[in-house]
């Protein structure tokens, strides 16, 4: 090997070590810079993706479009009411917690967001949304979507990339773990996705259930609220089957949310107490109440 090659190799190794020693705030700055450059292309890509999806669907007649629009408007109004209802339920939950002196009174607020990039990573199930530190989004903020009369959990904020962008780690990822309980039961387990989540509709796994538990297919799974990361009673999915071992039982769960068609999401903003830790840890400015918050 020539002397020049050796010099370049040693320089490469030195630079590589230097880069791997970057602190999270330095990495955050680099990623924010990259996001500023690539965001216009991400937006264009998302629009193109939407156009291709629309082309793939059957063409509709004007009458069908009109009917669909009317139905969508009705659905939108219903969803607005449901968001308000959800907010009330969560506020009530917080008040009960306050009574039990577990938490200080902290009104919940949601921020509406839109998906701008899908599955950017090879191995992690993630989305990029168009809300970030300027809207008060912080690391570990839960992300939900209305599902009929309930709210379905989509995932949590993995990283706030910039003032108007954040990375969502989906529930289907193995590293997004939620404390969950069965419908009409106090039995709890840990729900997580599959490694790589390679299938189109990956199943979730509810582990560490008591081995004596009885769970029929179709039984709904909700978040338990333990750990205080995710609010209680967010719909996670329904039981497909149950496998009991000598020590515990594991339920295979079909997710409630269709992760392929996510467009509009809601981020639950952190409460006063919860705000400080993740925001400071992520190097994100203190969240402020955004103008886009959905409040009752």
């Amino acid at each position: 090997m020539s002397r020049l090659n050796i010099i370049f190799l040693l320089t490469f190794v030195g630079l590589l070590i230097w880069v791997t020693l970057f602190q999270p705030d330095s990495i955050g700055k680099i990623q924010r810079g990259a996001m500023v450059v690539t965001r216009p292309f991400m937006g264009a890509s998302n629009e193109l993706d939407g156009a291709v999806r629309a082309l793939a669907n059957e063409p509709l007649s004007p009458a069908q479009v009109k009917a669909k629009l009317a139905a969508a408007e009705q659905e939108r109004d219903r969803l607005r009411l449901e968001v308000i209802q959800l907010d009330e339920i969560l506020s009530e939950n917080n008040q009960l917690r306050n009574a039990l002196q577990y938490l200080e009174k902290s009104p919940l607020s949601l921020v509406a967001s839109r998906v701008i990039s899908r599955k950017p990573s090879n191995w992690y199930n993630t989305l990029v949304i168009d809300k970030g530190s300027d809207e008060g989004v912080a690391v570990d903020s839960p992300v939900i979507v209305p599902l009929g009369e309930e709210a379905g959990l989509v995932g949590k904020i993995s990283e706030v990339i910039g003032p108007h962008s954040a990375l969502v780690l989906l529930l289907t990822d193995e590293m997004c773990q939620v404390s969950a309980k069965l419908q009409n039961s106090q039995e709890q387990g840990i729900l997580s996705g599959e490694r790589g989540a390679l299938r189109t509709l990956p199943n979730l796994h509810l582990r560490y259930l008591p081995k004596e538990i009885v769970a029929t297919p179709g039984l709904k799974i909700f978040s338990s609220g333990m750990g205080e990361l995710f609010p209680a009673n967010l719909l996670l999915g329904e039981v497909v089957n149950l496998r009991a071992s000598v020590i515990d039982a594991e339920a295979v769960v079909k997710p409630a949310v269709n992760f392929d068609n996510l467009v509009d999401l809601f981020v639950i903003l952190p409460t006063k107490d919860a705000k400080a830790l993740p925001a400071d840890a992520a190097g994100v400015p203190d969240p402020v109440t955004p103008s886009t918050s959905v409040k009752p």
Binding site: N5, T11, L15, V19, L167
Partner: protein, 197 residues
């Protein structure tokens, strides 16, 4: 020099185009990794020091855009402060894959592209295997579902399919810019019994 500038611009362009490339659900979430394919095709055409330089800045840009800060489970106890796939890991992947593919430079120079095309796909897949092994090491237990193998195979195949066009482009541009692909450093300097040639 003009050729290196062209390679730099092409790598930057590939980052933009990568944003528009979808994942294929029918192929278990695999997609064309255009940036990888462009880098590996360039690595066949440039000398070792230039390959390392391109590996560094391509890997750095990739991680700047696609790095996901996921901490292993033990991080909650404060035992681990490093992410599963550390920032800069892609630089290492590109460096190793680039060094591997440099071995087929003489074939590319002679206009034999069969092995370079195969190697571009192979190295793309191998890079993903490394990443998956690191993730599995952190999480414990090596899971190898058929979907994973299909994803690796299809991603490698997509890279192989696009690589002839990239090699053709590099070859034509090299001719036009009078850039000569040299294979210094790859010469056999000694006979097999140890005597200098």
């Amino acid at each position: 020099m003009r050729f290196f500038l062209f390679v730099t611009l092409l790598i930057l362009l590939s980052f933009i185009l990568q944003e528009f490339l979808p994942t294929f659900e029918w192929a278990y979430g695999s997609r064309l990794l255009l940036v990888h394919a462009v880098f590996l095709a360039a690595a066949v055409a440039v000398p070792f020091p230039a390959m390392l330089t391109f590996a560094f800045f391509t890997g750095l840009l990739w991680d700047a855009r696609y790095f996901v800060p996921i901490y292993p489970g033990a991080s909650v106890t404060g035992l681990i402060t490093q992410t599963e796939l550390p920032f800069g890991f892609t630089i290492l992947i590109f460096g190793v894959m680039g060094a591997l593919i440099q071995g087929v430079r003489p074939l590319f120079r002679r206009g034999r592209w069969e092995l370079p095309v195969f190697m571009i796909g192979f190295c793309t897949g191998l890079g993903l295997v490394f990443e998956y092994l690191i993730i599995s090491f952190h999480r414990g237990g090596l899971e190898l579902p058929p979907e994973l193998l299909w994803k690796l195979l299809m991603t490698a195949l997509f890279s192989s399919l696009v690589s002839p066009f990239l090699l053709l482009l590099f070859s034509r541009v090299a001719d036009r810019m009078r850039y000569r692909i040299r294979t210094e450093g790859l010469k056999r300097r000694h006979t097999y019994d140890g005597d200098a040639l």
